[in-house]
Amino acid sequence: MDKSKRRFIKGAAVTGGVGLFAAGYSHTLAQMGKGVVNGTSGKPTQDPLHGNSLAPEYKVDLQSGQLISNDDQRVANTMCLGCWTKCGVRARIDQKTDKIIRISGNPYHPLSSREHIDFDTPIKTAFVGLSAFQEQGLQGRSTACARGNAMLEQLDSPHRVTQCLKRVGKRGSGQWQSISFEQLLNEVVEGGDLFGEGQVEGLRAIRDITTPLDTNNPEYGPKANQLLVSNASDEGRDAIIKRFTFNSFGTRNFANHGAYCGFTYRAGAGALLDDLKKYAHLKPDWDHSEFLLFIGTSPQQSGNPFKRQARQLANARVNNTNFSYVVVSPMLPNTSNQPCAGNNTWLPIRPATDSALAMGMLRWIIDNQRYAADFLSAPNVDAAKASGYRGFSNAGFLIISEPTHPRYGQYLFASDLGLPFDGKAYGEQDSQLVVDAASGEVVFASQSQKAKLDVNQSVDTPKGTIAVKSSFQLLSEAAHSFEMAHYAKECDISEAQIIALADKFTSHGTKAAVISHGGTMSANGFYSAWAIMMLNAMIGNINLKGGALASGGSFPAFGKGPRYNLQEFDGMVEPKGVFLSRSKFPYEKTSEYRRKVEAGESPYPAKEPWFPISSPLLGEHLTAAVHGYPYRLKAWINHMGNPIYGQAGLGEAIGEQLKDPKVLPLFISIDSFINETSALSDYIVPDTLTYESWGWTSAWQGTLTKVATGRWPIVEPRVAKMASGDVVCMESFLSQVAMKLQLPGFGENAVKAADGSLHPLTRAADYSLYGAANVAYLGKAVADINAEDMYLSGVSRIQSELNTRLTPDEVKKVSYLFARGGRFEEMRGARDDAGNPSKVWPKPMMLWNPDVGSRRNSLTGEFMSGCPRLYQPALADGTPLDKAFDKSQWPLLISSYKSHTMSSMSIGSDRLRQVHPNNPVRLNEKTATRLGISTGDTVKISTPNGSVIALVECVAGVHPDCIAIEHGYGHKELGARDTVIDEIKIVANPLIRVGINMNDLNLFDPSRNGRYPLVDWASGASARQGLPAKIEKLS
């Protein structure tokens, strides 16, 4: 029997226009015969053969390789912001219209090329390298993804905000008036009766960095903390926002979109890597691995960096020897590749149960001693090196394991034993201890060659006996908390499959790796991500060829650089107090806790959960402000953030309250579009798009070499100008606010150069220009630009801007950077002679993390586990979701996935949206049959606090319990509804409204006091995976 006949083939959720080809075809039928008689009546094309295709940007002679430029176009290397991968792109610009006509990849940029070209390559050579000359462009291609190609449409979109807007009528009315920048500045700084609704405090009144905002709770900090500043993420301009927020205005409250992006993963990875400050993570060595495991991430579909990892994985499929991978997900992901079936497999899993799979694998690996014993027992990097490893772990480190001990969950230190140590007891120079495998003695971790792994004993100290366990022992006990059968049942993957996967994972030495990401954004996400990432520690793959790698790093622009000190300034404020989101601060240090203890009450539960291991959480900032705990806000400045669209349940939870000036008195957005969040604001400051603005950023991870992506206005900004002639945008707004308030860090003498001279920080470009000079001079300074590069790269258009602030020498070097779209370390810097990565993660892999294990859940008072273990998705008070919400009523689980075409902000592009115009939900065909649902049916999907109407596709590629929803659709703004500015209506495009937004399927946490969207109890990150739901057929 022909194998192919047994196949079922479905046009799945994503297609490139079967129907649209058909649409063209039916139109053709109507035209049949008509043309023969009448001739064509259409609009003539520009060229008889080439139709309306664009003129080439330049020509390359196929014989000589000579480049012939086209004076009607320029090509500029800059940065994309179609999603948050932030790739380097090259843009073709029409010289006459100043419009961007097409975008592809920047060949200098590691995120856009498989092997980026050397930084000192002349621009001309780079262009020829992209051409058909000697077929160079095939190997040397530098690409943009679908979004990257399409985002140029944003530039002149009718829905763009280009002038300062002030609301007319109530917040969210969609009606605005345009005002001058100067009026906007005056109103937001000075306040007054701005809307005829009563007095509004301006930023001047709010900025008080000495008076406590709450005398009963002095730890909350000064009144200035009642300004929240948020930035969607670091798209190259984060540093100036933080400078304004923390060090000039002096508020503690800042946040980005991490809490509703992939923070569970970052926190879990950070816990593993002993980095709960910046939450470092790992990426596989795509080029040399033999087996990769993806749990809760689909590298060919999304993730940072999406495009690069998709390309490297595609290459590995064809070129790596003995290579295979498994992708674990509730829904069949794009990372699945049928032509290579056999070396890649989709393993379906019940939503939000990744930790059961990972803990099952850990248990089997420990029970069968399949872990890299030499790696785990090496208590320092030198000992590990002796066994061929390039990192180490704390598996043998001793942890105080007596729950009643005041230092439970923390390391046993030299100072505990009365042994000599430097610095403060329990400080950085106090030594961790292990039981030496050879001598059986308790010794300094730094002085043992091999530590005992399974330690469970008492240690005599001058203060008595202390029970200790090794990190490994604690992890082993956590893994043994449940039987394999329990793990299997929980995640709906058979015991045999869990074992097979663990066996496979541990069968390639260090040439294997596991990663995760947003699939762990569930109500047990932190521990799920940590459990997944812990598998890497079992094989000791860190910093090794074929294993799990650290970030390639950056050339930092905004630090204390070689040319300008952008980190420090005279009078800089040190922000103080508790973040609104109660992050990075243990509940046990609050006045609330103290008062309860003093009154003889149980200090638990806290009024609302605290998140001691987490970064600031934008969603929790906002719900805190609305509920007034720990305190309220007086103003919010939001740059590009869209938590109302982006965080599950947040819009329904607090959207109405945010419209109430009594709850949030002043709300200023800075954005180039009106999104679901900025639609609620009082004022909108127009912002420059990535193609119009200055900035310096880097890759999140995934490159082996240093990346500094620089961007510059490759076209004339479309935004309004202020009276001074400077463009209105985020930087100019914050600078002008600071100057009007006479805050430190901005103004005429705000920036100190390395030679001690003082320089102004007053204009939109200033901060990034100084940053550019820093990048140019870091280490060995880059070359000066030559005339040819200047001509071909389009940077001549910014020369006058560069000259206003930089020295002539700096201008030449900064121009060299911008011509290349940043600064990039050469590929040859990626690896050492043995092929191992040059950049290494220096800290231990943490089997037990004392910073986690010594903290308590602020509601239950129980210790958080200091190592991964199985937690079910649960409410903040620990109640499992399947207990809180009756399974008979809510039989299914929602899981969202990232789109490979649509990001949260790309829906406005017509040429992108036409390729993939909707997001019908995907349902398992057997589940659908049971429910009487067929493909194309209209259904109502409900969660306990929300419902939407959607279309369904019934497929084999979804777990039977899962409703799979693609992110990026169901917009209410960004052009989805009519907007009125100065009584002129900007008509909505109904195509922008199409589809559903998973985040409208709300789930409020019933264990909290008020409407709070469900979050991961440990990290406070948004829970959008595994929400209980039901589905009903409507038609």
Binding site: P56, N315, R317
Partner: protein, 260 residues
């Protein structure tokens, strides 16, 4: 001194002194007399035979090619010269999990193109390098070629009312550049090149994978010059399966567009 050179130096005058003194070499403007002759758009690149290999093992289904093509070639919205369709392939027995196949499609620039003989005006023809093109000034939009193409690769452009299709970006190939879809192919799945040159990358790829090369509808006697690596035979012929949902609905149930 010729005009283009003067323009060039004029531009440089705005550059700070020092930089402008660096001699300018080998950058010629488009109308420079010394620029080499480009190929005739009608004849094409004589001696070459263009073809494309699409390595499905590498395709990541990202749709970058689709979007790059639509921006480069500016067909009306909703009409495409290339598409990437995504198929879920599952087994009846349910023993192995389903998998995705991404299938990029475009004009096959056949050796025996059925679209050409049916054209009543001669507007559709094949260049000497194998690229099948349409002369928009001669095309009357009768649609016979659209009917004749077994690959649904042609359409009547709603703006021009003429037959429209992929040209392998002949305007770029003739300028020594790569087609839009190829140069932005994230997985490096699309490879274009000269089939007459045994040393070209496409010829090498075809040779190295000769047991795994397929074309669409091999029995249609069209001799396609778009080749696929890694394609299951199930995809060679008309694919009968469940079509994707094309209706556009809002989350309140408002139908924006009714799909076919």
């Amino acid at each position: 001194m010729d005009k283009s050179k003067r323009q060039f130096l004029g531009k440089m005058a705005s550059v700070s002194v020092g930089v402008a003194l660096i001699p300018v070499v080998q950058v010629y403007a488009q109308d420079d007399k010394r620029s080499p002759q480009m190929h005739s758009a009608i004849e094409g690149q004589v001696g070459k035979r263009y073809g494309m290999v699409i390595d499905l093992r590498r395709c990541v289904g990202c749709q970058a090619c689709t979007v790059a093509c639509t921006i480069e070639n500016q067909p009306p919205l909703g009409q495409f010269r290339t598409t990437v369709q995504q198929y879920e392939v599952s087994q009846q027995e349910d023993t192995t999990p389903p998998a995705f196949l991404m299938l990029p499609r475009l004009c096959n620039h056949c050796e025996n193109p059925p679209c050409i003989p049916v054209c009543p005006t001669g507007a559709t023809f094949q260049r000497k390098d194998g690229i099948v093109v349409v002369n928009n000034e001669w095309c009357v939009g009768c649609g016979y070629c659209v009917q004749a193409c077994p690959y649904d690769a042609r359409f009547i452009n709603h703006d021009t009312n003429t037959a429209d299709k992929c040209t392998f970006c002949a305007h770029r190939l003739d300028a020594g550049l790569l087609p839009a879809c190829v140069e932005t192919c994230v997985g490096e799945a699309r490879v274009i090149g000269d089939l007459n040159n045994p040393n070209s990358q496409i010829s090498q790829l075809l040779a190295a994978n000769k047991t795994d090369i397929k074309v669409l509808k091999p029995t249609a006697n069209t001799a396609p010059r778009v080749f696929y690596i890694g394609m299951s035979s199930a995809f060679e012929h008309k694919i009968s399966g469940q079509a994707p949902v094309r209706t556009l609905l809002t989350d309140t149930g408002v139908e924006i567009h009714h799909g076919h």
